[in-house]
């Protein structure tokens, strides 16, 4: 299936997705990456949209219980957290692996001079 169509369908299926007349809108590039990853995983059949909507709703409820004002600017933070939990729950990866890769990217950013593309190398994994 055409990925743009898949994204459009995602926009219909997921309540409260930030949209304008043409489709999803993003505040920062990483938000589009987080959105696109969920669309791609859904296409692979890793989860259904109702399943995703429930995971995201849990995440938002949890954040609100801990004082998130939910002004809209944190939507994709919740999205990312839900995605991390869901891929771990589906045994695609583990929380530990996510941490290890996060630290490796941090290391890669640290050793990359400002302005050069940041790329991950094996020695970034401590």
């Amino acid at each position: 299936m055409n990925s743009a169509e898949a994204a459009k369908r995602a926009a219909k299926e997921i309540p409260s997705l930030p949209l304008d007349a043409d489709g999803p809108v993003f505040r920062e590039p990483w938000e589009a990456h987080a959105f696109a990853m969920a669309v791609a995983l859904h296409e692979r059949g890793l989860f259904t949209w109702p399943e995703w909507a429930a995971a995201l709703a849990d995440e938002i409820k949890h954040a609100q219980a801990h004082g998130d004002a939910d002004a809209g600017d944190t939507y994709y933070r919740h999205w990312l957290a839900a995605l991390e939990k869901l891929v771990a729950a589906k045994s695609v990866t583990t929380e530990e692996t996510l941490h290890r890769y996060r630290d490796a990217w941090d290391h890669a950013a640290d050793r990359t001079p400002h302005g050069k593309p940041i790329e991950l190398r094996p020695d970034d994994f401590a």
Binding site: S3, P29, G115
Partner: protein
């Protein structure tokens, strides 16, 4: 030619926010495990490229078209002029605005995707980051422009600028004909991202809905 390959580095390393680190971590793992194809992801993201970030550059250009004092300021001290509108980039960015004229066309290249000024221009198109685009833009700017459907008069000089970590360029396109008396908001609708990179021209008045 105003093309300069020297990249100066006042900062000793790059920074990714906590959230960006997590997104990259997840994306790398999913790619390695074959759950996502980064190329397919790029295609999807490109669908939304005009929907990412505030694209404040269009408003900067529109203001320069409408207000000659602002335009003068923008061309002499772009960083300050842009900040005066409330659009601040990351630390250390220095903006330079280059003006298109009937005799001179500017085009910007940059492969430093981590440094692309997306708060001003919106997300870069995928092709913009590719090495072939960069080298062809330098060697054959007229050919690249014609790929984008832009044919310029033969006698118009084309200058290619290389964005660096510290200097980001924004092209000030020529104001389209038939827009006398237009408000800044309406003028901004004519300003495309590509026209601010120099790989396109602004829309003509008849191309936007009245």
């Amino acid at each position: 030619m105003a093309h300069d390959h020297h990249h100066h580095h006042d900062h000793d390393h790059s920074d990714l926010s906590e959230t960006e680190l997590r997104v990259r971590a997840l994306e790398t793992i999913l790619t390695e495990k074959g759950y996502i194809d980064p190329k397919a992801l790029d295609v999807l993201i490109e669908t939304y490229e005009s929907k990412i970030g505030p694209r404040n550059g269009a408003l900067v250009v529109a203001k320069a078209w409408a207000n000659s004092d602002f335009k003068k300021w923008l061309l002499t001290d772009a960083t300050a002029a842009i900040v005066s509108l409330g659009y601040e980039g990351r630390q250390g960015e220095h903006m330079v605005v280059v003006e298109n004229t009937p005799t001179l066309h500017h085009m910007v290249v940059c492969t430093l995707c981590s440094c692309y000024p997306w708060p001003v221009l919106g997300l870069p198109p995928v092709w913009y980051k590719s090495a072939p685009y960069r080298s062809r833009a330098v060697a054959d700017p007229r050919g690249v422009l014609s790929d984008f459907g832009v044919t310029l008069p033969k006698d118009r000089e084309i200058r290619v600028w290389d964005s660096t970590a510290e200097v980001r360029y924004l092209v000030l396109p020529m104001r389209p004909e038939g827009t006398n008396g237009w408000s800044e908001e309406k003028l901004a609708e004519l300003v495309t991202r590509d026209s601010m990179i120099g790989t396109g021209l602004p829309k003509a008045p008849h191309e936007i809905s009245k």
